[in-house]
Symmetry: C2
Subunit: 198 residues, 2 copies
DNA sequence: CTACCTGATGTGACTGAGTTACATCACGTA
DNA sequence: TACGTGATGTAACTCAGTCACATCAGGTAG
């Protein structure tokens, strides 16, 4: 593994965050990031498919977490229980360090459509994985689709508020509250529509 | 307006679709597209911010349609009625020509993550606009968010099946059926969860 | 201790996206 | 006919990303 200086990917992430935060995303060159991490442009692109990917590394883990979280729920549970299991599994790997990274990423996202686009793509990939996991446990694929959207929405909004405020509890609590609020909204939604169509 | 050859944007779109379909998206150069449309690379980038944007021009119209569709519904209607109005408004500008374009775009999307990313971004922009329109009419922003997701999902899935099959009715009918199926799924969803939390 | 083998890195050249400053040209108008 | 305006062309440039090839650090076998 680590013969030369170890953890090239982590060094590149830190370098990128630092330079992007200082000069902005577009004004920072891939070569500058590499140099700041003690590497070369070519090596950078050996580790990451493109410049944006430096910031979004490790999101594949979330796919595994969501999928496994849903798969490990006892057979007779409600759709919302399945969803909660999947979504709360996403919260496990987030400590104080992730919060700081999230903070910086947040600031960058709000000023770069290019990064927003990639963030959205990642989010949609995770949503698709969760939807697929839910579909195998729920015979209605449409239900699975809506649930996955709602769950990931709760996760991202929970993550946002967790990142912004300093002294919330663990991420899982924030996300769980968000999820419950969505459940409530969904229920009043179909209450308001007792006989939707003939 | 149109002094030289008219409709440069339309010509670029047709050129791009033709070349992309023949050689693939990545193998086609921006200069080739421009030349095939009787223009120059520089002029191409005066009309479109980047290569992908050629294929997604005109999606701003959808934002207007969705927003206006929601705004023009009578005051005492259910949340689903609001949603239906917004989503069905999206269907008005789609004729036979749009179907052919949709067909080609569909094929391209399935083979290019780069294009998928942009398509997703457009979709999310439209969803955000619909959500905002719904929020002004629905006091629960979470409900608005879920409804917008569901509505746009129904629209895209309806559009997909409309594009694929040759002799469906008008797009609005297909999308409306899809929308009704989602409403039904949502209702059975909260039925299955009579007492969601203590 | 030496000779390899392997995988991570560096070098330099290359393609193509997108930008920019400047020139040009088609058309409408005075 | 001269002028103004907006769309286009030209050419040079930066930077993202790729590729072929050289190198170098470390482990392993003899």
């Amino acid at each position: 593994m680590g013969r030369w200086e170890p953890d090239a990917r982590g060094r590149l992430l830190r370098a990128a965050l630092e330079l992007f935060s200082a000069r902005g995303y577009e004004a920072t060159t891939a070569a500058q990031i590499a140099e700041h991490a003690g590497l070369t442009k070519t090596t950078l692109f050996r580790h990451f498919a493109d410049k944006r990917e430096i910031l979004f590394q490790g999101q594949e883990l979330l796919i595994t977490l969501a999928t496994d979280g849903v798969a490990g729920v006892c057979p007779d549970s409600t759709p919302f229980d399945l969803l909660r299991a999947g979504v709360l599994s996403l919260c496990t790997p987030h400590g104080t360090e992730q919060r700081e990274i999230g903070r910086q990423l947040d600031a960058l996202l709000s000023s770069s459509p290019e990064l927003q686009e990639r963030a959205l793509f990642k989010r949609s990939t995770i949503t698709a994985a969760l939807r697929e996991a839910l579909t195998t446990r729920l015979d209605d694929p449409r239900q699975a689709g809506v649930l996955a959207d709602v769950g990931i929405r709760a996760y991202y909004e929970g993550f946002d508020s967790w990142v912004r405020s300093s002294d919330d509890g663990p991420l899982a609590d924030v996300v769980n509250r968000e999820l419950q609020a969505y459940e409530a909204s969904l229920i009043t939604l179909s209450d308001a529509q007792p006989a939707p169509f003939a």
